[in-house]
Symmetry: C2
Subunit: 384 residues, 2 copies
């Protein structure tokens, strides 16, 4: 039996997610927005019976068994941890910092019977599912290089907000880079152990953000990851990622894996491959045509991935009679909160590298840092 | 009146160059090859009256006024410097080291009345000539990022040779990266002041190179350049270059410049552009169809560029009555030996960065280093 759903957020993801949930048979009982007005407006539009701006009203709602969180990164940890504490299943987006991610991991470990997954939808995109399968089967031979490019228009909101602020989790690296970092660990089965990166904010002001306000989040980001997997030597593969969000009117989403005997390329939602020695590329998985809602703000691979993720959730919950129970199988490849912590750690290492100019190690937090120590660091950072 | 030409080299460039020279009305009087046999064979094939394996026989040939040098990098400096000393005009390919390049610069400065240009043909490709013009005219606004990708099959020769040896000037960075570094300084009007890079040799042995022999030259290279021009601040643009020569059966040559108001992309020999706010890309310069020889080893942009360079040479010499005189105009944008030294310096800085993992400064040599000091360094390097 499918669980009742509560949705946090009134942004473009929430707007797409609710119809997808309904299409799969989920009932969305409650919507939370930062203001009563935003919540009311979207609840009316999407036909959700209850709306609020107080998070507890959704978390404690008796019909809500699954909580979907698509809110600014700085608020995510608080809601996600609380939801698990109340005994709700959680699908949520990335947090703002590694410390927040670590707290989410701790909560998820404490409630292993609850579903807790990160909403990185790229893992669910059929093109990437097929790509991973082909990589496992040895289509490209030994993996050498992954090369990813995402080009698109500005990620900034219309008005000044968290998307403009690096410390609030804004910027191309945090927003889009995160999903690529997660995807690459999914595809290669390896994790980055050293990273190097360069971040830039080319557009610091625009027609809507001006005066004393400045954008601090990156609109261009370029990073390399040296991957080390189980038993891989220092000669392991490397990943290069280029993100450019100063390209209005375009959208490029290309993930290429080159190996010793061939290569695979996902362009948008399509998968192509070429084995060494063959004359040309073959289309391995075409674009079957998107029939869901078309959302300007959300690129097609994410949109389709989201749709596939919702299907997987349906399968996971459908397998059980009890509303809150779920089967691990359909969501076995979904990113866990531990994956979320890894991604956040890489993001922060890339940021450090952009400041230091050096290769930075990716060291996953194993215990929570002393909050007073953090405070000192934050004060120090503000001083500079 | 056109000068008589002597050609050094029997590789693919020489093989293409001779017919192009003839087509423009140049007479090719002499050909040099490393062995009598190679020289004889190609001279017969291309209808060149004189061939030799002794360089002086070409350099001192009375009908030779222009010397074109397309030989392994480690031999280039010696021939180029000697040719200038004998009073011949020189078009040559890159040398193996910055010290060699510096010696060539010294010779070129000493004989300013002689033509001395580096044979980087990309500058002559109509798509890049148009791209530069549009950049100067402000098509993209303020330049932000240049993003270059060159993917192709292995650069290794059939048999073991200099292409396999990093120290002999082999590898993607030296061979192809050089032409890209030169092109980017031509397009942007700026030079790299700091670089960061990563080189890899994924294929160290193959069916033809085995046993105790190993390839040391890179087949994957990835570097970033921070550009500083006349009066540009630290916030200047950056260039990212990805070279991958583990992709048999493919050839991608893409140069993109993204700016504040639009972008330009050269794909192969075609130029596309898009201004912010416009709906799609426009084709700015199409591919007019190549009518010259088709050479498997030489990518189309280089082939076409070579053809345009030979045309420019013809125009340069045609302007004067005297066989050895030439007009600066038609070859004004050709890379000088000073440009060659800059490119070589960047190449070596990228290699250093790949070893150190750090950003390296690009410092152009201003005096020849003590040869004994070099020897010590070389011995040191061999020891490691």
């Amino acid at each position: 039996m499918l669980p009742g759903v509560g949705v946090f957020g009134t942004g473009s993801t929430a707007r797409v997610l609710v119809p997808l949930l309904k299409a799969e048979g989920f009932e969305v009982h409650a919507l939370w927005g930062r203001s009563e007005e935003e919540a009311c407006c979207l609840a009316k539009e999407l036909g959700i019976p209850f709306h609020t701006s107080r998070s507890d009203d959704v978390l404690l709602h008796q019909d809500v068994d699954l909580v979907c969180i698509s809110i600014p990164p700085s608020m995510t940890r608080q809601i996600a941890v609380k939801a698990l504490g109340i005994g709700k299943n959680v699908v949520c987006e990335k947090a703002a910092t590694a410390v927040d991610s670590f707290k989410m991991v701790t909560a998820a470990r404490y409630y292993p019977q609850l579903l807790s997954i990160m909403g990185n939808t790229l893992r669910f995109l059929p093109a990437f599912v097929a790509m991973r399968q082909l990589l496992v089967e040895g289509y490209v031979g030994e993996m050498q290089v992954c090369d990813v490019r995402v080009y698109g228009p500005s990620l900034l909101d219309q008005s000044y907000g968290w998307t403009c602020e690096e410390l609030m989790g804004g910027g191309g690296l945090h927003t889009v880079g995160s999903s690529i970092i997660d995807l690459l660990s999914y595809l290669t089965g390896a994790r980055a152990h050293r990273v190097h990166g360069l971040l830039r904010t080319f557009v610091q002001q625009n027609g809507l953000i001006r005066g004393i306000r400045r954008v601090t989040s990156d609109d261009f980001c370029f990073f390399q990851m040296l991957m080390g997997g189980a038993g891989s030597s220092s000669g392991g593969g490397c990943c290069t990622v280029t993100l450019n969000f100063n390209m209005p009117g375009s959208f490029v989403h290309e993930v290429m894996v080159v190996g010793s005997t061939g290569r695979l390329v996902a362009r948008g939602a399509e998968l192509y491959g070429q084995r060494n020695g063959s004359k040309g590329e073959e289309l391995l998985l075409g674009d079957s045509g998107w029939v869901g809602p078309d959302v300007k703000e959300m690129p097609l691979p994410h949109l389709r991935g989201l749709s596939s993720m919702v299907q997987a959730l349906r399968q996971s919950f459908q397998a059980h009679e009890e509303r809150r129970s779920w089967a691990r199988g359909p969501v076995a490849t979904a990113p866990t909160f531990e994956d979320g912590l890894y991604v956040q750690t890489v993001v922060e290492a890339v940021k450090r590298s952009s400041c230091s100019g050096e290769w930075e190690c990716v060291e996953i937090m194993s215990q929570e840092p002393d909050p007073n120590h953090n405070l000192c660091e934050a004060l120090q950072r503000n001083k500079n």
